[in-house]
């Protein structure tokens, strides 16, 4: 049984995963992408679908039903202005890593924290790969300077 605190934090996390899922969906079919680039985006998109659904299962009737519209509009605007989606997707993945780690600080359930951890390690891998598509600078792939989002 989840505490009210954990429910609020997880619902916020789920809304961010819904947002990221939708952001990937806006770029996954871009005609400017190669077949392999499209496949990469489809894979990462499917991961965010899996995260959103696992959180949905945990939350049950308390699940979030909508994405974070502010974050979605902000990033979809950035994506529409860019010739490639890599830098923007790198930024959102880094934000997710930072935000989920911050959330783990406040989650009471160790099991839920472990689930979040299993998401964070893969989103970090997403970020590392997306960074390699924008630059050969190692620090872009390794260092996360993103600031965590906070549930309002």
């Amino acid at each position: 049984m989840l505490s009210d605190n954990d429910i609020n934090l997880l619902a916020f996390t789920q809304s961010l995963e819904l947002t990221t899922r939708d952001l990937y969906l806006t770029v996954v079919g871009l005609k400017t992408l190669s077949e392999q680039e499209g496949a990469l985006l489809a894979q990462f998109h499917s991961h965010h679908v899996a995260y959103e659904q696992s959180l949905n299962g945990l939350l049950g009737k308390n699940a979030a039903t909508a994405r974070n519209e502010k974050v979605f509009i902000d990033f979809s605007s950035k994506l529409s202005k860019s010739s490639t989606p890599w830098a923007q997707l790198l930024e959102i993945e880094n934000i997710l890593v930072a935000t989920h780690a911050k959330t783990i600080e406040s989650i009471e359930s160790a099991k839920v924290a472990a689930l979040m951890a299993s998401i964070v390690t893969v989103e970090a891998r997403h970020a590392a790969i997306l960074a390699t598509l924008t630059t050969s600078d190692l620090s872009a792939a390794l260092d996360n300077k993103a600031i965590a989002l906070v549930a309002s």
Binding site: S34, Q36, E37, A39, L40, Q43, F44, S46, H47, A50, Y51, S54, V97, H100, A101, K102, I104, E105, S106, I107, E108, A110, K111, A113, A114, M116, A117, S118, I119, V120, T121, V122, E123, A124, R125, H126, A127, A128, I129, T132, L138, A141, L142, N144
Partner: protein, 269 residues
Amino acid sequence: MIALSRRELLRLSGLSLASGLVIAACGKQSGLVDDNAIASLGQAPKITPLAEAEVTDAVLLRTAASLEYNAIETYMTALDLGILTGDLAKVAEMAKRFTADHQQHADAVNALAVKLGAKEYTCSNTRIKDLYLAPAIKIITEDGNPNPAMDIVALAHAVENLAAETYQSVVGLLTDPILRADAIRIGQQEARHAALLAQILNPGLQGVGPTSNEQTGKPNIAAVPSAFGSLANIQLAIGKPKPDGSRITLILETPSLNSLIYDSVVCQA
């Protein structure tokens, strides 16, 4: 209830009596004399009981620190061998950066352990070293190995995955939520290391997601092999290929009860 006739009853009695005589005769023939002694050979060693060991937050942090030193030693060995040259020269640069990251991680988790009243641990994990790393390096550097440089990258990749898995797994074990967050902040960077090394072993976008070898059916190295971070054992295929094309496969597992750095374990650097 079973009904027996008089004839059947007599036959069964006779059989029981005969069996008893045979058993008694065997006992006599064996010549055993019951002197109340139990046969023994040598002396049982005295058992020294292990110290009471509790898996505390500090123990988990000290264990994480020990793995950081395993990673540092792996990269030092890779660089000392002088085989990361040519196309793999950039891996030497990565190894230097990753070594610095692991030292930072070790310092960070040791600082957290000290805050909890424990002693810092600045040595590699002996069991991980003896069980996995030393044998791997021996196999990699043996004569006849056609590609020791790529194998050392594969070892580093396995160690990074081991570190990422370890931090991910301790999140569910640590009692303090703040420490859980600290752990995963480090673990996520180990995962990034692993992803970048995977791209050296299986380069290009086709090496990002999970694929399998068409001939062997075994999974290829992938930068992002699954949707959720795995805690499964890590397979490391290295060394000179056998006649059938297969290679020695080592199975690496995250530290368990017999490889944790308990309070009583002293670093003897």
